[in-house]
Structures are given as C-alpha cells and as structure tokens.
Amino acid sequence: MKTDMRFPLFRLEISSRFLVVLQRNLLVYTKYWRSSLIFNFTEPMLYLAALGVGLGVFIPEIEGMSYLEFIAPGLLVSSTMWATSFECTYGSLIRLQVQKSYYAIITTPVSLDEVVLGDIAFGAFKSILYGSVILLVLLILGLVASPLALLVPLVLLLSGLVFAQLSMIWTSLAPNFEVFGYYFTLVLTPMFLFSGIFFPMDNLPLIAQRLAWLTPLYHTVQLCRGLISGQLPPAYLTHVLALIIFFLILFLPPLLLMRRRLVQ
C-alpha cells in the first residue's frame, strides 16, 4: 500500500523537456537526412508512376478527378504513415535497446514520459517533412488544385502524432525487431490498401467502410485529398475530429506501456 501511494501510476511527468529529446533526434537526423529523405520520397513516386500513369489510363474519372489526381494525395499520406511508423518502431527500438539512449536520458532530469513524447514528436516531424516534400513535387507535377493544400502539413502533424503513438505502443511491447513484421503486415498494409487511397470506399461492403472509419489513415486521406483538390465539404470536419479523438485516446497508452517496460 505504501508503495502505491509513493508511485501513483498516473502521475505523469510531462514538461517542455520533451522538446530537448526532439532536439536530440533532430540533431541525429541531420547526420543522415539525405539518404533517408530520398528513400522515403522514391517509393510514393514509383507508385504514382506505375498506378497513376500506367494503370490510370484504363480508369475513368473518379469523384471528378483523373486517377492520377485521385491517388496522389493518398500516396502522399501513406508515405508519411510509413516514414513515421518506421521511425517509431525500428528507430525507437534502436534507441531503446541497441543504443540505450533512453536509459542515458532518464538518468538526467528528463523523465521517461518526456523521452517517449520526444520520439512521438519526432515521428510527427517526419510526417510533416516528408509529406511537404511530396506535396511540393505534386505541385510541380500540376496535381495540386487548391491553395487549401497549404493546410496539409497541419493534417500531417495530427496524423503523424497518431501513427507515432500507435507505433510506440507496438515498440513498448516488442521484445525484438522481428515482431515489427506483424505490425507492418497485419496492421499497416491492410490499412494502406483499404483506406480509400486506391479506390473510393463506397464500393466496398458496409462492414469494410465502417472498419475504415476506425483507421486514422482513412480520415487523413480524405482530408488531404479534399485540401489538395479543393473539394472540401464542411462535413470533413468530422475527419479532423476523428483524428483528434484518436490522438487523445492514444495519449496515455504508449507512456504507460513504456514505463511498464523500463521502470521495474
């Protein structure tokens, strides 16, 4: 009982110090950003060329857009999802298990909660950075129809936080690097294929549409497509709301699970 009083599980230790952890990750990132950025940028471009240009000629207009215009925002979003997820799974577990940076940082006044938040913030940073680079390319390719696209990075901040949180939950439970395969194959890939990136969800059975609603990717794709094409009905605010709700629900689990793993 004494122990419980001293260590309330929910006594969060959060301050602006998490920004120092973010700063650390950014400093390390300056060492390898070129290779990382090129790698993450190439993949969506390949998809765009193969599907948008190659497959696209056989597909009539979707929702008043060419197929290329239809899939471009979705590929932008999915590439940010991959980038953030890689960062907060493999990247974070390397910091935790291989480099033991987490253990070093928590001997200082920085708390474990702040370390985890710093990593999540870094995941969101990558989401914004990679998404913005691809947005620039889409602009050059003439695939951006509306100045509302300037708001895309804000959406990517929100979605980046959510994907980082999800990845971090997985990382806090991961005994080794192999188990990330499950996350990527069983969680992210189905989301990638069935979140309205390649085809509108209306054609799918109702159950699939409902399931898509439960994924952060679906809402992010809808929002970014709306912003880039300029077709943004007010009902799209529900997508923003959905992402905010995801963020709030997922705020505590990574912190608590990482505590369970490190504080013994």
């Binding site: 004494k2 122990t3 001293r6 260590f7 230790e13 110090r17 120092v20 700063q23 650390r24 400093l27 390390v28 060492k31 390898y32 480099q99 033991k100 940076s101 253990y103 070093a104 940082i105 928590i106 001997t107 200082t108 006044p109 920085v110 708390s111 490190l262 504080v263 013994q264």
Partner: protein
C-alpha cells in the same frame, strides 16, 4: 556546488562534535545517501532485502557483490528507475520515491552499458547532455571543454563517438556525467569490458574526480577496483549486506594479512580439515577451490614452515598478500570455518 564545505575535511569521519553546533544538522548536510531497511521485490521475491547504508560527501563508497547480488537494482532505486518496495531511501536530502526528478538534477550516472549517441560527435554528446539538465551549452562552453580536458578527450571533440575506443567512450560517459556538477556520482561497473590499460586510465581519472569532494557510489565486481578507489564499502550477496568497512580493515578482519595457497592432488578437503584443526591459532579461515586450499593467515611463511615439518603431498604453494578478493570469496563463496557447521 560544494562551497559550503570547508576544504580538506577528512573524507570519511563523521563531523566533529563542536560546541554550539548541532551535530545532527551537519550530519544531514553531509549525508548524500541514506538507505534504511531498503527493500526491492520483483514478483514477491526480494532482490534487495532490507539493506542499510549511508554515503557521505567526499567519500567513495563501494557496493561489491557477485552478479545478481542486487547492486544495480540498488543503484536504479537511487536514480528513480526502480520504485522502492519498502523502507526508506533519501538521496541528497530528498525522498527517492517522491522526488526522483529533483534528485536526478544533482546526480551524475555512469551506467554499465555504453549509452552514448554513436552518430553524434564527442562534443555533440556533451551539449545534448547539458540540455537534458536544462543548461545552455553556449553559456557553459568553458566548463564542457574543461571536462573533456579532464578526461583527455580534447583532441577527439570533433570525432564521431562510434570511432572511439572503448576506453575513450567510457571516459566520455564520465565527462558527460559531470556536466551538472553533481553532488553524487554513481558509477555502475565503470570499467567492465575495458582492457587493462584503459581500465587503469579510468581509475586514474576517477581518483582525480575524488579530489573534488563529491560523493561517489561505485558498484563493481572488480575487487582491485574497489581497493583502489573506495574509502568504504559494503559486500552484498543475494540482496543483503554481508559486511561493511574500509577495504584494508575488512581484509585484516576476515582474512589476515596473507594467504597461503596449497595445491593438492589427493583429498584436499581432508587436508584442509586437518590443517584447520591443527593450527587454529595461525589461521583465520580457509577456502577450498578445486584442488587448491586457500589458508587465511597472519603469517604465511611461518605457517608454511610448520606444514613442511609434517609429510604433506602438495605440489604447489604460494604465499601472497591477502586482498579484498579473498574477503569477497570468503563471504560470498563456500568457506570452511572450523567453528561453523559448514
């Protein structure tokens, strides 16, 4: 940070009782760690089982023990990575359970693993750590440079950490742990995995740090390390403190000044018993490892002479100075003591 302390105070002694000065106050102000009946349980099993110890400013205090003795767990409780199950733990005057973050502001921790940022340079590692402590690197540049100089790393400031040798990494970890001018430096097996030369250099550096009158808590299973660095130490095994004292006093108390090693091919335990019953006044105990009897004695050559008077089939003998290692083995290993049933 230690300006309130007069220089040249004896590292170990309790404060002198001076008229008009409340002794309790001084004791508290100099006491950096105080553990009382400290317990840590994992799944109901106590890995630290009611230990008591104090560490004072200016001393190097050692926790010795075999792997699994509870050393690292004790250290983790001090810097808040491991919640306390029972008992009291006060660090720099604060309750370790409640004020972990505040305590860490006053600590430097060199943990067992290398946990530097390998992609960053030596200098970048230093400035990042300064930031974790809420310090502005630009304002304490001179201090950071001094620390690198102290650890012989000035020339490597721009080198990436993954290009450094093991010894240099260790010294950088130590330099990094001093950034906040800690009141307590925790060294958790600081030289594990280093080659002998690198280890001796690290010891030299740690002795330099000791001059600065900060408290050092050292855990190790290198007995030589403990002898060289510690003013006072405890020997831990299975979560309990077996013995506490100054290294040389412990050696004298448990083992005497010398050890006579005898190698026997046949029936060493019978001979061990025979010697123990025959020369009790010359012996402080003995320990059998394989076919070698270790005889703890005040006078090895005298004992050897007496043994040579009786026909004795040993094929190897060595008289050497007793070390902390003998104390350690005696306390944590199986040992033959005539008066005990074992």
């Amino acid at each position: 940070m230690q300006t309130d302390e007069a220089e040249g105070l004896p590292a170990l002694d309790f404060p002198l009782c001076t008229k008009g000065v409340n002794m309790q106050d001084i004791t508290i102000s100099r006491k950096i760690i105080s553990a009382r009946n400290l317990v840590k349980r994992y799944n109901g099993k106590a890995v630290v089982d009611g230990i008591n110890f104090q560490v004072y400013r200016g001393e190097c205090f050692g926790i010795l023990g075999p792997n699994g003795a509870g050393k690292t767990t004790t250290v983790k409780m001090i810097y808040g990575l491991s919640p306390i199950s029972d008992g009291e733990l006060t660090v720099v005057g604060l309750d370790a359970g409640r004020h972990s973050r505040e305590i860490r502001k006053h600590l430097g921790v060199v943990s067992q693993d290398n946990n530097l940022d390998p992609e960053l340079t030596v200098w970048e590692n230093m400035i990042m750590f300064a930031r974790y402590y809420g310090l502005r690197p630009a304002q304490i540049k001179g201090h950071l440079m001094q620390l690198l100089a102290l650890m012989d790393l000035t020339d490597s400031a721009k080198a990436r950490v993954d290009t450094l040798s093991g010894g240099m990494k260790r010294r950088l970890t130590i330099a990094r742990s001093l950034i906040n001018n800690p009141e307590l430096l925790i060294l958790d097996e600081p030289t594990t995995g280093l080659d002998p030369k690198a280890r001796h250099l690290v010891w030299q550096k740690l002795r330099d740090i000791k001059q600065q009158q900060i408290a050092i808590l050292l855990t190790t299973h290198y007995l030589e390390e403990a002898t060289k660095l510690c003013d006072r130490l405890v020997i831990m095994d299975q979560g309990r403190i077996l013995e506490e004292g100054e290294p040389l006093a412990l050696v004298e108390k448990h083992v005497g000044s010398q050890v006579l090693e005898l190698g026997l091919k046949t029936d060493p335990s019978a001979f061990q018993e025979m010697i123990m019953t025959r020369f009790p006044q010359l012996l402080k105990g003995s320990w059998l490892l394989g076919d070698t009897i270790h005889l703890y004695t005040g006078n090895g050559s005298c004992l050897l002479q007496k043994l040579q008077e009786i026909p004795f089939p040993y094929h190897y003998h060595l008289v050497r100075a007793a070390t902390l290692e003998d104390v350690f083995l005696k306390l944590t290993g199986k040992e033959y003591v005539p008066s005990n049933e074992d």
